[in-house]
């Protein structure tokens, strides 16, 4: 089939699977997961075919696989819906398809497919385990299957659909559609165990926080459409005339150029989605969801989508910038926010004890890396790190899920009441869970940038050398420090989890997970190592030139800059060697002999550790600065003042007047016959009370009245001020 048709087909299988599972097969767990798996497999297969063809196509950047049809007519023009595969979307498609498929396979194991249903399991809560009789007739507790198994697969299928849609689309509008569907899915998936209050809070937090970014992004979209009349990538980003015009005209805000303003607005969307400071707070809480969800959100899809967006819009963000020249405003902002986020999140990760939270902050930090790389103009390096990071971070998340599973097994066995996610309770899992250990080790080394063999080294090295070559010393030093911290907390995590002696009985009885969980780990670890070889710089001492630097050529062809030849300086290389090895060694030394579940840093860092552990109190700050005032406004101003005082007050006033009048008349007439003034007063009060009570329900129409009244008011104001034009 021709490539364009195939690309159209990529997002469809997961969508189809979603509908089929929701409508038909949600009672049958096996059928549901097979549907989802087959759909993910189909999308994966088509993606690989497309990727293969894209790699072999000459000049793909100028002539991408593209096709579009009219979608919504808007007067004389029409909004189009279409697909486009260029080098950037091809590589993103590559890693998305693989990680998604792996996560799907892993999920069957993670949700205990094949295990009995638990006697006490309820929908909306994690399975608590089932009691079954073993061969000797003794009651033992074993893991039980997730009660909402089908629902999970339906939701992640929808999620996968949205991600594929976002990758293959050729315009911002469809990208935004995919973006928002993912927002919805992440909301539903984070709150998958909705009976837990923490999960409910986390889901709302994630949804609202990302929404803040999305609103700004939508504004950027609208501005872009208003100025250029199109949202197609090629027509905006591939057209120097449009970019020049946008960069040359001033917008009304802060005397930024339109390109800078739109770039910043779109970047704020990324800040929300990719959890950059100051909108990073939702991501650690998103750990409330099941582990495959964390991997989906953190590695394969949602957060990558944010970075993908800014990489995609790099030509707009950097409009007016030449390599080596002064940075544009959006690039400067990205450099600052990215490098700050990188080090900020890395410091927090050092003090976390929950295995998934460490990874969450590590993700934030690594995404900061990519953003910072873009800020200094290291375009290909950012894309490269996006790809390698997706592989090793998915590996780490899935690995941590496997660890938690193993620990839960131990807890079932011993009946201890400890947190299976707390690393301080682990230790010595290396012997119990060998496959998980080795794959986790590979992922961890890749994350910390272990020299030469791991993918993370190559991509991180490129970012560091990009910052160094670009002359951005502040960014360079910050990122190097962040890399040191990264290596440190990775070593801490591996040492606490796998090395040493078990620090709890549960850890002693942990057990390796099933093959459905370990096989994806093994496959991902291959990529966590191998993906780096696609991008070894040609001028790297010793190794450079053995393999062509395929990645930079392929993705770099997206930009229209002249290729700048530069000498590979040894400074960034030595820096990355030192920070990676030094951090790893330091982490190992500090944590290797830990006996009791207490963090030795707690003593040596003192108050600082508490600050880090509480994530710099940013959540508390937001609570005090934004959420409380908003609640206060809603409660006191809107409800008590507007609703109860003004609206009800007017109505009550009229009613009271009526009651008063009636009472008055009646008293005058009745006075000679009955001196029942007290009686009537009581009756009046009672009537008023009844009336008041009836006012307290069903307000929807009143709200509509207010809306219409405001509309009328606006109409009157226009009529009397502007006139009829």
């Amino acid at each position: 089939m021709i490539s364009e048709t195939l690309v159209w087909l990529i997002p469809l299988p997961p969508l189809l699977a979603f509908f089929l599972i929701v409508v038909f097969t949600n009672r049958n767990k096996a059928l549901s997961h097979w549907l989802a798996l087959i759909a993910a497999g189909l999308s994966w297969a088509i993606s690989m075919v497309i990727f293969g063809r894209a790699v072999r196509t000459e000049g793909l950047a100028e002539h991408p696989f593209a096709h579009a049809i009219d979608w919504l007519p808007t007067g004389t023009t029409s909004l189009k819906i279409g697909i486009q595969i260029d080098p950037l979307s091809a590589v993103v498609l590559f890693f998305v398809a693989i990680t998604v498929l792996m996560i799907f396979i892993y999920s069957t194991g993670y949700h205990n497919y094949g295990q009995p249903a638990g006697q006490h399991d309820r929908k909306g809560l994690p399975p608590e385990g089932a009691e079954v009789k073993d061969a000797k007739g003794k009651l033992v507790k074993v893991p039980s299957i997730e009660p909402m198994y089908s629902r999970f697969f339906a939701l992640i299928s929808l999620f996968a659909f949205a991600m594929f849609l976002l990758v293959v689309t050729d315009n911002l509008l469809t990208l935004y559609v995919g973006w928002e569907i993912m927002g919805l899915c992440s909301y539903l998936l984070i709150g998958f165990w909705y009976a837990k209050e923490s999960a409910r809070k986390a889901m709302i937090k994630a949804f609202l926080t990302t929404r803040v970014g999305d609103v700004f992004m939508l504004l950027g979209l609208a501005a872009l459409y208003a100025l250029t009349g199109t949202l197609n990538y090629q027509e905006i980003l591939g057209n120097p005339a449009v970019l020049e015009q946008l960069a040359g005209t001033l917008s009304p805000v802060f005397s930024l150029s339109w390109a800078a303003l739109i770039g910043l607005l779109i970047f704020i969307g990324t800040v929300g989605k990719s959890a950059q400071f100051p909108l990073h707070i939702w991501l650690p809480d998103a750990m409330e969801g099941p582990t495959p969800v964390s991997a989906m959100i953190h590695a394969a899809t949602m957060v990558s989508a944010g970075v993908y967006l800014v990489i995609r819009f790099f030509p707009l963000l950097s409009a007016g910038w030449e390599p080596g020249g002064t940075l544009t405003t959006p690039m400067l902002v990205m450099g600052i926010i990215g490098s700050f986020t990188a080090i900020f999140a890395a410091t927090i990760a050092v003090a976390q004890n929950d295995i998934k939270r460490v990874l969450a902050f590590s993700t934030i930090s690594q995404l900061g890396y990519m953003i910072a790389a873009l800020g200094v103009g290291a375009y290909a390096a950012a894309a490269f790190h996006l790809v390698t990071h997706a592989f090793f971070k998915a590996l780490l998340f899935l690995g941590s899920g496997s660890i938690i599973h193993g620990m839960e097994h131990g807890i079932f066995h011993t009946g201890e009441h400890i947190d299976p996610q707390n690393m301080l309770n682990m230790g010595g899992l290396r012997k119990k869970m060998p496959i998980t250990f080795w794959t986790f080790l590979i992922g961890g080394l890749a994350l910390s940038g272990f020299p030469l063999i791991t993918a993370g080294f190559w991509s991180k090295d490129e970012i560091l050398s990009g910052a160094f070559k670009g002359g951005q010393m502040g960014v360079f030093i910050t990122l190097a420090l962040a890399a040191l911290l990264t290596a440190f907390y990775t070593a801490r995590q591996i040492t606490l989890t796998f090395l040493g002696k078990p620090r709890s009985k549960a850890a002693e009885h942990a057990q390796e997970s099933k093959w459905t969980m370990t096989a994806p780990l093994a496959i991902l670890s291959v990529f966590a190592i191998g993906a780096g070889w696609a991008g070894i710089p040609a001028d790297f001492p010793g190794l450079g030139g053995l393999l062509p630097n395929w990645f930079e050529e392929f993705v770099g062809s997206m930009l229209h800059f002249e290729h700048v030849e530069s000498v590979h300086s040894l400074v960034p290389l030595i820096t990355s060697l030192v920070v990676a090895l030094g951090g790893l060694a330091l982490g190992w030394v500090v944590y290797k002999g830990l006996q009791k579940p207490v963090d030795p840093l707690e003593k040596s860092l003192g108050g600082l550790h508490t600050v880090l552990k509480n994530k710099y109190y940013i959540d508390e700050f937001y609570q005090a600065a934004f959420i409380r005032p908003a609640l206060w406004l809603a409660d006191v101003f809107t409800y008590k003042f507007l609703d109860q005082t003004i609206i009800d007050g007017v109505l009550h006033g009229i009613a009271r007047f009526g009651v008063w009048l009636g009472n008055g008349l009646r008293n005058i007439i009745d006075l000679p016959v009955v001196n029942g003034a007290g009686d009537n007063a009581a009756r009046g009060t009672r009537g008023l009370g009844l009336y008041l009570r009836s006012r307290q329900s069903g307000r929807i129409q009143q709200y509509m009245v207010i809306a219409i009244s405001l509309l009328v008011l606006a109409g009157l104001v226009i009529y009397f001020t502007v006139g009829l034009g």
Binding site: S697, G698, Q701, V705, I708
Partner: protein, 106 residues
């Protein structure tokens, strides 16, 4: 030989009546009826503009006709669902007074 504005004003009147009804009727069925009035007002506008447009172009215009047809379809769907909901709510809660359906109240 009727001015276009007559139709528009008639439609505006019908729309406002429907709006008042939606805002002030108590029972859900009545509210649905008033929504139908509002939809009809919209349709009067659409048909009037269809006539106007066809007159300008000299040929019958298809787009407004499609629009009107779709408004009909939406109205039918809305009534089907709305009435089913009302019947269902009535059965369960023995009321079709909107004021008394406050289960979703926070």
């Amino acid at each position: 030989m009727i001015p276009l504005s007559w139709y528009l004003i008639a439609a505006a009147a019908l729309f406002c009546i429907g709006l008042v009804g939606v805002l002030s009727r108590k029972s859900a069925v009545s509210i649905l009826m008033c929504v139908e009035l509002m939809l009809n007002a919209v349709n009067i506008n659409l048909v009037a503009f269809w006539h106007y447009h066809s007159q300008l172009q000299g040929v019958s215009q298809v787009a407004p006709q499609v629009f009107v047809a779709i408004v009909f379809i939406v109205a039918a769907a809305e009534v089907a669902i709305g009435l089913a909901l009302i019947i269902s709510a009535y059965r369960r809660r023995e009321t079709s007074v909107v004021d008394e359906m406050t289960l979703l109240k926070g």
